[in-house]
C-alpha cells in the first residue's frame, strides 16, 4: 500500500465518520400517519371535522416535541365514503407512503374493508367515526381499534331516556341502506323494545338518497309518534327538510344516531332539526377541563364548533401517542399490546380501550337540540353502556 492509497483510505474513513456524525445529529425520521377520510361527497362534512380534530392534535403534539422526539407527519387521502375507493388508497398509504398508522375512515363499510387491508399489511388502524357494532363485534380484527362509541353504546342511553320521555312510543325506523344503517337500527330497536317501545315499521334508503318523499308513504301508513333515523351528513339535511315540507314533523319525536345532526349540517336545517334527541359520547357543553381547553383551541383555529367526530378524531392522536410511548416503538405487535387496556385522556374524559374487542369504553350522554344547541339531558356510565364483548377472533 503506497502513501496515496493510504491517504485515500484515511480520507474515506474520515468522511464516513463525519457523515454518520451528521446523521445522528439530524432529527429522527417523522412518524407517518395516514388519514383516509371523505373529503368529497355526502360525508364530506364529517371528513372535515375528522381533519380538523386530527390536525389540531397533531399541531399540539409536534409543538410539544412530537412522539418520542419524532415529529408526526399526516398524509391525507379522499375515500369518498366508498369502500371501493378506500381500499386501493389504503393499500397505497401502507405500501408506497409507508405510513405507521392509519385513521380517518368514516363509513362503516369503508372501515371494515380498510381493516382487512391493514391486516394484510400488518399495520394498525383506528376509526374515530364508524358506528357499526360489527367492527368490534363479529367482524372484529386484531389490527382495528375504535376510539368512538359504537351504535350499541349510543342506543343504551337513548332507549333509557325514551322509555321515560315517551312511555307509549310507537317507533318507525329509517336508516341508510348499508352496514352502518342496518347496524344502528338493529341496535336501537333491540334496546328500545327491551324498554317497552313498540316497532311500527322500518325502511332503508340508499346512501346519498336525493328524494325521500317516496319513503313517506310507509311512515304515514305506520302512524308513529317517534321516528328513529341514522342517516348522516347531507342525507340528514334532505330528510329533515323534506319531512318538514311534507308536514311530517308535526307531533313526531325524532331521535337518532349521534352522527345524524352535527354542527356541520345543522346550519342547513335550522328549525327543522329542533328537538332532535340522541345518545352520544360527546357534547360541546361537557364540564371537563380537557374539553374546555379543546373547544377553545378548536374554535380559535377553525372558527367553528367541534362535534363528536372532531373530538374523537382529536382523541385518537393522543391514543396513538400514549401507545407508542408505552411501547417505546412503532412496531405493530408492540403498539397493539400497548393499546390493549390503555387508558388515556380525551375531551370526553378518560377512555379505556377494552382489550377483548378493541372498543373504547366511555361515558355516554343523551343530548337534545334546543335553540340550535345540544343540551345534555342525562348521562350513563361507560361500564353500563358498553355491553358484552362479542369478538371471537382474538
Amino acid at each position: 500500500m503506497n502513501s496515496s492509497q493510504l491517504f485515500c483510505r484515511m480520507l474515506l474513513t474520515a468522511l464516513a465518520a463525519g457523515f454518520s456524525g451528521i446523521a445522528s445529529a439530524q432529527p429522527a425520521e417523522p412518524i407517518k400517519i395516514g388519514v383516509l377520510t371523505p373529503l368529497s361527497g355526502t360525508y364530506a362534512s364529517l371528513g372535515q371535522q375528522v381533519r380538523w380534530g386530527i390536525e389540531l392534535a397533531t399541531k399540539e403534539i409536534n409543538d410539544a416535541g412530537g412522539i418520542m422526539g419524532r415529529k408526526v407527519e399526516l398524509l391525507f387521502e379522499d375515500e369518498e365514503a366508498n369502500p371501493a375507493v378506500a381500499t386501493p388508497k389504503a393499500e397505497k398509504l401502507f405500501q408506497v407512503s409507508k405510513v405507521d398508522f392509519l385513521t380517518g375512515t368514516v363509513s362503516s363499510a369503508s372501515t371494515l374493508a380498510v381493516g382487512q387491508v391493514a391486516e394484510r399489511n400488518d399495520r394498525l388502524m383506528a376509526t374515530t367515526v364508524s358506528f357499526s357494532d360489527a367492527i368490534t363485534g363479529d367482524k372484529c380484527s386484531p389490527n382495528v381499534f375504535r376510539v368512538n362509541a359504537k351504535a350499541g353504546q349510543q342506543s343504551v342511553a337513548l332507549a333509557e331516556w325514551l322509555s321515560k320521555a315517551k312511555p307509549d312510543a310507537k317507533v318507525f325506523y329509517l336508516g341508510p341502506d348499508y352496514e352502518m344503517g342496518r347496524s344502528t337500527v338493529h341496535a336501537f330497536k333491540a334496546a328500545a323494545e327491551a324498554k317497552g317501545a313498540k316497532t311500527v315499521g322500518e325502511v332503508f334508503a340508499p346512501l346519498d338518497n336525493k328524494d325521500y318523499s317516496p319513503f313517506f308513504g310507509q311512515i304515514r301508513a305506520a302512524r308513529p309518534n317517534v321516528m328513529y333515523t341514522s342517516v348522516a351528513g347531507n342525507d340528514t339535511v334532505r330528510l329533515f327538510n323534506q319531512m318538514s315540507e311534507y308536514g311530517l314533523l308535526r307531533n313526531l319525536t325524532v331521535v337518532g344516531a349521534s352522527g345524524t345532526v352535527t354542527s356541520q349540517n345543522l346550519g342547513a336545517m335550522g328549525k327543522n332539526a329542533e328537538g332532535f334527541t340522541t345518545g352520544v359520547g360527546y357534547s360541546v357543553d361537557l364540564d371537563i377541563p380537557e374539553n374546555k381547553k379543546f373547544v377553545a383551541a378548536f374554535e380559535a383555529a377553525y372558527k367553528a364548533a367541534p362535534d363528536l367526530y372532531g373530538a374523537d378524531s382529536y382523541g385518537v392522536m393522543y391514543f396513538y401517542k400514549a401507545a407508542v410511548e408505552k411501547a417505546h416503538s412503532t412496531d405493530t405487535a408492540k403498539v397493539r399490546a400497548a393499546m390493549e387496556g390503555l387508558a388515556w385522556m380525551t375531551p370526553q374524559g378518560k377512555k379505556t380501550m377494552r382489550a377483548g374487542d378493541h372498543q373504547a369504553v366511555q361515558d355516554m350522554y343523551v343530548t337534545s337540540l334546543k335553540d340550535g344547541r345540544f343540551k345534555v339531558l342525562s348521562k350513563v356510565d361507560g361500564a353500563a353502556a358498553i355491553g358484552p364483548d362479542t369478538c371471537k377472533r382474538f
Binding site: S40, G41, T42, A44, E80, D177, V203, F204, A205, P206, D208, K210, D211, S213, P214, F215, F216, G217, Q218, R220, A221, N234, V237, R238, Q242, E245, Y246, G247, A268
Partner: protein, 297 residues
Amino acid sequence: MSGFIDTLQFVFAPQIINGLSIGVAVVLMALGLTIIFGLLDVINMAHGEFYALGAYVGVTLMAIGVNFWVVLLLVPLIMAPLGYMTERLFIQRVFHQKDRHILTLLLTFGLAIVLEDVYKLIYGPQALSVKTPIGGGSEVLGVFFPNYRLFLMAIGAVIIVGVWLLVYRTSLGAMVRAAAFDKDMASSLGVPVSHVYAGTFAFGVALAGLAGVLLAPVYSVFPTMGKDFILLAFSVVIVGGLGSIKGALIAGLVLTQIQAISSLYISPSWTDPLVFAIMVAVLMIRPQGLFGRLGHA
C-alpha cells in the same frame, strides 16, 4: 269506514299526488328522448347528461345572481343551440352510414361519459343544492303538500300540452312529422330535412335542460344526476312505444303511480326493479310498446 276514508286521505292521497309530481318530471325527460328517437331514429344515450348540463348551467347563472324564473327561461335558449351543434357536428357524421343505430348509440354513449367527467372536473363531485324558489306548503285534499311540487305538476302539464300542440297542431310540427314519416318525400316537397333533424335534436336537448333546472331544487345537482333518471325515462319510452308522445305521457304517469303505490308495501328502493320488470314483460309481449311511432300514429 271512517278509518278507511282516513287511510285513503292520509296515506294514499299524498302518495298518489307525490307520484304524480315525480311522473311529470319523468315525462319531461322521456318526451325529449322519444321525440329524438321518433324523428331521427337515434337513441340518445347522452340525454341524461344534457339534463345535468341544464341543471349546471342553471346553477352557474344563479350563482352570478340571476333570478330562478329568469334562469328557467334562459336555460332552454342556451341549451337549444348546443343541441343543434351536437347534431350537426357529431351525429350527422355517422347518421348516414349503414349501421347507424349502433354508431349513434355508441357516439352518444361516449359523449355521456365525457360530459359526466367534464362536470366532475369543473364543479367537483359534490352535490350542489339549489334553494327551493317557492317555499312552504299547502293543504290539498286535506293533506299538507310542498308548494314547489304543486308548481312542478302545473308547469309540467303546461309544457307537455305545449309540446303536444307544437307537434300535432302547427305547420312546424307537420314538417317534423313529415320528415319522420318519409324524409325523401318531405325533402322533395321543400322541407329542409337536415335543419329539421338538427332542430328537433335541439328541441329535445332544450327540454332535457329545462327539466334539469326544474328538478334541481328537488334532487340537487351532481355529475351523475343524469344516470339516476335516464334509466327510468328509457323504461317509460320503451313501455310507451319508442317515438310516441302519447305513449311517453301515459306510460310515464302509469309507471310512476305503480312505483308510488307499491312503495307503501315494499321498500321504495325495490320499485325501480319493478319498473324494469314491467319493461321486460312489455318487450316480450308487445315489443313495439303500447303506442306507435311519431308520424305513424
